[in-house]
């Protein structure tokens, strides 16, 4: 088996990673054509501009646009990127037509979230951004194909924080909890401790029927209240 330049560069990058020289590893991954790994390495070390370039080369234009808009504040480049290249969802496409439609709708929603972040960075009118966050809350509550875009909730939270609308953050988390997203209450509690300094207080499931139903639907998560319930 001949040693191709790509395989040698990949091995070199792997050795650089083991030695702790992440910049050199990312450079070698980029030369070898493994753009996604290069972008993750750049991102882990803080070189966001290089990470955006490599995400774009790897076809993950939504993530590249997010880095440009959120971490670098360069809304113009992010918008150009989103308009120029549609995201390539990869080979894991669902077979049924309805699933494909739903998945495409959720990916479009993610792109709109990125555009909303660009609006906030630009300082332009925020009506579209508010509409997008409404749709995000709707989607999280209905749990439509949210497993395909795990960064929908954190990015929407970041957009709401950038708009300095902590009430929208709470609404988004509440939609996640109602929709049964995995460990949504824990994430809300962590956010609340970090930003507000107070632990989360959620209503008791026995208060009313709607709360009990929502609690029953949030399968897979620990009990709502950060304090153990007396059951």
């Amino acid at each position: 088996m001949a040693d191709t330049p790509q395989s040698l560069l990949n091995r070199a990058a792997h050795c650089y990673l083991r030695a702790g020289w992440i910049h050199e590893a990312a450079r070698c991954y980029r030369e070898a054509g493994a753009h996604r790994r290069a972008a993750e390495a750049w991102e882990s070390v803080g070189a966001i501009a290089d990470a955006a370039v490599d995400y774009r080369a790897a076809g993950l234009t939504t993530r590249a646009a997010w880095l440009l808009g959120h971490d670098l504040g360069d809304a113009t480049s992010a918008r150009e990127l989103l308009e120029a290249a549609p995201d390539n969802p990869g080979t894991a496409a669902p077979a049924a037509a309805e699933e494909a439609t739903v998945a495409r709708a959720v990916r479009d929603l993610l792109r709109r979230v990125v555009l909303a972040r660009c609006d906030v960075a630009d300082g332009s009118d925020l009506d579209d951004a508010l509409g997008t966050l409404d749709d995000v809350m709707d989607n999280l509550e209905q749990n439509r194909a949210t497993w395909q875009v795990p960064e929908l909730e954190p990015w929407a939270i970041a957009v709401a924080e950038a708009m300095q609308r902590l009430d929208l953050v709470a609404l988004i988390f509440a939609a996640s909890v109602r929709g049964g997203q995995y460990q949504a209450a824990e994430r809300w509690d962590a956010w609340s401790q970090r930003v507000l300094g107070v632990p989360l207080q959620l209503p008791d499931p026995d208060d009313d029927e709607a709360t009990r139903l929502a609690f029953a639907r949030s399968h897979g998560s620990l009990p709502w209240s950060p304090y153990p319930l007396n059951r």
Binding site: R11, A12, A13, H14, C15, Y16, A19, H23, E24, E31
Partner: protein, 611 residues
């Protein structure tokens, strides 16, 4: 709507009667007894025949509702009638259509309960034919057999062809359907723009011209009329015939269906008709449906090829004038794209026997954009050499580094690069797989690939090159010494502490165990001339004696893995050296060697390319 039969549902006991006894108004003494005495019957006693001529009654008449009858369904709206006709076409034989002044009738031979279901679903009123009239049907029970109020004489109804009903029913609209294939009919002037737009959207577009004539749908094909018939009608038909371009759009790989915006925009355009292809001979307007299905419509409209559409387009027959052509075939090359002979003045004039070659650009060394990579070598002069001695004593680099002495400059190297920065000398970076070094943080202008280095400084052999901005130095790698020789110096004088008599004892032992050779033995214990083969035991003793005496060959020392790697690197096997470093955990040196090997592998071997 004629009233239903006024008969009450018969009581349970009457099911014991024969069918003739169930006619309304028929009352025989036997019936009266049976009907009026249910309690006596329910006692279980057999009903006594009231009249002697009555035969033994069967328990329950079988299949009174399943005979095939001729069912007529009456509608006021032609659309409902057409829908019912469509269902009859699927399940019944010989459906026909009649009409009178204010309603439409659909007749078919059909099993009774199936027919009743269909007429209920269609929203019509059911009639059963008996004789020359149709009788209103209750909707349950046995079919009516005697004329009563509400019967209609068939003679008063006019027989109409099925297509009249279809035409009267028309098309209804169902918006928002998606298509994978659309057939668009338009004039030639508009077709060009449409094909252009389709190509822009990456749709597969083909087109062909059609000859169309406006006609109402009829089942007879348009045959050439004999001269006996009115020739004016024929010329008239020729006058109204016209041509249209049929543009056929199909989706490519990148879409599941045609873009809805395009179809909506074309729907709104009065000069363009968007159709779906129900069959190769039937085109129906997009989003329009007849109460009959496409298949049934095609079955009724056999004969010509039809285009069925709402006003303002109307219905047409078409025939094809040519085969399908690809949409992009409408593109022609402009004059500027045609091939012409080359223009003189573009090529250099041929002045000498050889071609005019471009001027060579001198190689310059300029600062690079990044200066924080790992270090590969260090250039030292004599004063710094003394500092190196102090710095590297006890440093782990002392085990691996080698020093290449020159006239007044020295080169410090290590396998896989120095990588640790020591604060003396000028830092150097290796350019690739060749031992050519450039000042760290600088690069060549223009940047050269590995093959260029091989040919520019070809045949380096055992030499290393150092390229600085203003000079190039050459070092002889065969003169390399380990760097610890700077301070380690010569071995001290060895004073072997073996007592004299032990030496003599060992010499005697040696003499006894060595067989007497034919040649005279020498007294010196050097192993230079040993004629006989000796056993390993004798060799071991001799060597032991020699080592004690400080003379003779040293113990063969196995090379360490670092030495193996260094040897491999100098021999040109960079991948092997990298593997050794990788296996032993020195990841950074392994990474540098893999990178140099990759730059060597990128270029083909010299002589394998053209020329």
């Amino acid at each position: 709507m004629p009233p239903r039969s006024g008969q009450r549902p018969p009581p349970h006991s009457s099911y014991r009667g024969v069918p003739e006894e169930l006619r309304p108004g028929s009352s025989s003494p036997a019936d009266a007894e049976l009907v009026a005495d249910p309690i006596a019957d329910s006692d279980g006693s057999a009903p006594s025949p009231a009249s002697p001529e009555a035969s033994p009654l069967p328990i329950r008449p079988a299949a009174t509702t399943r005979p095939t009858v001729e069912l007529a369904v009456r509608f006021t709206s032609p659309a409902l009638a057409a829908r019912c006709l469509g269902r009859f076409l699927d399940v019944a034989a010989r459906p026909s259509v009649l009409r009178d002044a204010d309603s439409w009738w659909v007749l078919a031979h059909i099993p009774l309960d199936l027919g009743r279901e269909i007429s209920e679903l269609a929203g019509g009123v059911g009639y059963i034919r008996s004789g020359s009239s149709v009788l209103p049907d209750h909707g349950w029970g046995a079919p009516p057999t005697s004329a009563g109020p509400g019967a209609v004489d068939i003679g008063t109804l006019a027989d109409t062809p099925l297509l009249d009903l279809v035409i009267a029913a028309g098309l209804y609209q169902r918006p928002g359907l998606s298509l994978q294939t659309a057939v668009i009919l338009t004039s030639a002037a508009r077709a060009g723009g449409l094909l252009q737009r389709a190509l822009d959207l990456r749709l597969t577009a083909t087109f062909r011209p059609l000859l169309v004539r406006p006609r109402l749908p009829s089942p007879e094909p348009e045959v050439a009329e004999p001269e006996v018939a009115a020739p004016d009608a024929d010329e008239e038909a020729e006058d109204v015939a016209g041509t249209l371009i049929e543009v056929r759009l199909e989706v490519g790989q990148n879409r599941p269906q045609l873009p809805a915006a395009l179809l909506t925009a074309l729907d709104a355009d009065r000069q363009v008709l968007v159709c779906r292809q129900a069959s190769p001979e039937l085109l129906v307007q997009h989003n329009r449906f007849s109460p009959l299905t496409d298949v049934q419509l095609q079955a009724i409209l056999s004969g010509d090829r039809w285009i069925v559409a709402d006003p303002p387009y109307g219905c047409w027959t078409f025939e094809s004038l040519a085969d399908y052509a690809e949409g992009w075939q409408l593109t022609t090359m402009q004059k500027c794209h045609q091939l012409t002979a080359g223009q003189t003045g573009f090529a250099d004039p041929r002045t000498t026997a050889h071609a005019t070659l471009p001027d060579a650009k001198p190689l310059a060394v300029v600062p690079a954009s990044r200066a924080d990579g790992p270090l590969d070598a260090i250039l030292l002069d004599a004063g710094e050499l003394r500092a190196v001695r102090l710095l590297l004593e006890g440093h782990p680099l002392a085990e691996v580094a080698v020093l290449v002495p020159g006239r007044d400059q020295f080169l410090l190297l290590a396998g896989g690069g120095i990588v640790d920065r020591i604060p003396v000398g000028r830092y150097l970076t290796r350019v690739g797989s060749e031992p050519i070094y450039i000042a760290h943080g600088w690069r060549t202008e223009p940047a050269l690939p590995a093959a260029a280095w091989r040919s520019l400084f070809g045949g380096l052999g055992d030499r290393a090159l150092v390229i600085e901005p203003e000079r190039t130095l050459v070092f002889d790698l065969s003169a390399q010494r380990p760097v610890w020789e700077l301070w380690a110096g010569e071995l001290p004088e060895i004073d072997d502490q073996i007592p004299e008599d032990a030496k003599g004892l060992l010499a005697e032992l040696d003499a006894e165990t060595t067989p007497a050779p034919p040649a005279p033995r020498r007294s010196s214990p050097t192993p230079a001339a040993r004629p006989e083969p000796e056993t390993s035991a004798r060799r071991g003793i001799r060597r032991f004696v020699q080592r004690l005496g400080g003379k003779g060959p040293a113990t063969p020392v196995q090379p360490t893995w670092r030495e193996q790697a260094w040897t491999a690197e100098q021999g040109g096997d960079l991948v092997g050296a990298a593997r050794i470093y990788d296996v032993h955990g020195d990841s950074l040196r392994a990474a540098r060697l893999y990178e140099w090997a990759a730059s060597e592998a990128t270029q083909p071997a010299p002589g394998s390319g053209p020329g």
